[in-house]
């Protein structure tokens, strides 16, 4: 037997485990797996293992375990069943179970081959090479409550009204404007003159006039503090007079202030 299979001696690596090896040996019996002689197969396996002179123990461990189990099975098949141990499977049952395993693995090996023999995607058959895809269009649905709608309307009113106020503000005579106006007269008022004569000429309504008076008065105070103008009021609520300081009246002359 060993002469007939020199290749097997060197080639444990070619087997996917002890069952696979058993299956290969069984196939050498050239009989239907269902009619397999497990006893003969066990002999074959043991002979095969015995012939391995160069077994790498690490790789072969499970093959050796199987060999031990087959030797045990063989003894169970050859010797009369021990009377004790009612629950333990008989030698025949163990052999049948092993045969089932062999047929199962053989079936799975065939099934694997059958799967791979099918036309495979990307090898024999192809799907669409460049699917355009199905475009998605989002249809928006808006949710809005009546309350939100009405609140937005109220909010709009509020905002627009606030805007009206900020736009009206420039219609008043500002302090900056008054300062600019008065600065033009500084140094050109040698005699006392009434404040009212410095108010903007284009007089408008009451609010504007009052704001012009107030801003011009504030500007006068500012210029006086800076020493650029002099103020005089003879009595409470009386008219207010102003003139340029002495130094500014005569730019060439000496010091002096009022």
């Amino acid at each position: 037997m060993s002469a007939a299979q020199p290749a097997l001696v060197l080639d444990l690596d070619g087997y996917e485990g002890p069952i696979d090896l058993l299956l290969a040996l069984a196939r050498e019996q050239k009989v239907d797996l269902a009619k397999l002689s497990i006893l003969a197969l066990a002999d074959q396996y043991l002979a095969f293992i015995a012939a391995q002179t160069r077994l790498c123990l690490e790789i072969a461990a499970d093959y050796l375990v199987m060999a031990a189990w087959l030797a045990y099975l063989k003894s169970r098949l050859l010797l009369p069943e021990p009377p004790s141990d009612d629950d333990a499977p008989s030698g025949e049952q163990l052999a049948a179970a092993l045969a089932h395993r062999l047929r199962l693995l053989a079936a799975m090996q065939r099934a694997g081959a059958a799967l791979l023999a099918r036309p495979q995607l990307g090898r024999e058959v192809f799907l669409r090479g460049a699917p355009e895809g199905i475009p998605r269009i989002d249809r928006p649905v808006y949710s809005l409550s009546l309350y939100e709608l009405l609140a937005a309307y109220g909010e709009g009113h509020r905002r627009v009204h606030a805007r009206v106020l900020t736009i009206e503000a420039p219609a008043l005579h500002s302090l900056d404007e008054a300062l600019r106006r008065l600065a033009e007269f500084v140094g050109q008022v040698p005699e006392w003159r009434e404040l009212a004569s410095f108010l903007p000429a284009e007089m408008r309504g009451g609010v504007f006039r009052r704001s012009a008076l107030a801003s011009t008065f504030a500007a006068l105070l500012e210029l006086t503090r800076a020493g650029r103008i002099e103020l005089r009021q003879d009595r409470a609520f009386g008219p207010i007079y102003l003139r340029s300081p002495a130094a500014r009246r005569s730019p060439a002359g000496g010091a002096g202030a009022g």
Partner: protein, 198 residues
């Protein structure tokens, strides 16, 4: 002409599986010398001309493309919930209260220009629509609310929208301290679109 039929089948499979358009000289190589690729491709293109996919020449090669007229049917619609911007909600409210109203009037009432797309959003939501044009310079479109606007807000007509007094009573027109005492003028303004203008 069984061989011709086989060549057409092969062409069909090649166009189908290729990731990009196939040029005629590539096809010649695949079909073998002496094949009349031009005629074969023309025949295949004709047999697909009326179908859901067409064989078209793109970027110097031939490829299958879904028929252009089917594009709208191919797309899948997906419903997406969206929120309207504040500007859009306010614009909708103005259209509701002041309709028919022109874009310029809406802008005048809001005091700011309408961003591009604000009215489009409302149009898309199906809540406003144009109705006729205003006589006058430029003949601008008039905007009104739609019946689905009424349905959405559970109203029988726009007359059911609360009046300004009712809005104020509900606290929705409350005006901040900056506005001082001028609320009554606003009420008058609201009745006449356009007078809000600063």
């Amino acid at each position: 002409m069984s061989e011709r039929r086989e060549q057409l089948r092969l062409l069909e499979a090649l166009f189908f599986a290729a990731p990009e358009p196939l040029a005629e000289d590539e096809l010649s190589q695949r079909l073998g010398d002496g094949s009349d690729v031009v005629a074969l491709v023309r025949e295949l293109a004709e047999s697909y001309a009326e179908r859901g996919v067409n064989l078209v020449c793109l970027a110097g090669g031939w490829t299958f493309r879904t028929a252009p007229d089917l594009a709208p049917l191919l797309a899948t619609e997906r419903v997406v919930a969206r929120k309207l911007s504040r500007a859009a909600v306010e614009t909708l409210a103005i259209v509701a209260y002041h309709q028919p109203v022109t874009r310029a009037e809406i802008e005048a009432i809001r005091g700011v220009a309408l961003a591009r797309g604000t009215l489009d959003r409302l149009l898309e939501a199906g809540w406003v629509r144009p109705r006729g044009r205003r006589e006058g310079p430029g003949r601008p479109l008039n905007w009104v609310t739609t019946s689905s606007f009424l349905v959405h807000f559970g109203l029988d007509s726009v007359n059911e929208l609360p009046g300004l007094d009712e809005l104020r009573a509900a606290g929705l027109l409350d005006i901040g301290p900056a506005a001082l005492g001028e609320a009554p003028e606003l009420a008058a303004d609201a009745a006449e679109p356009g007078e809000f203008e600063a």
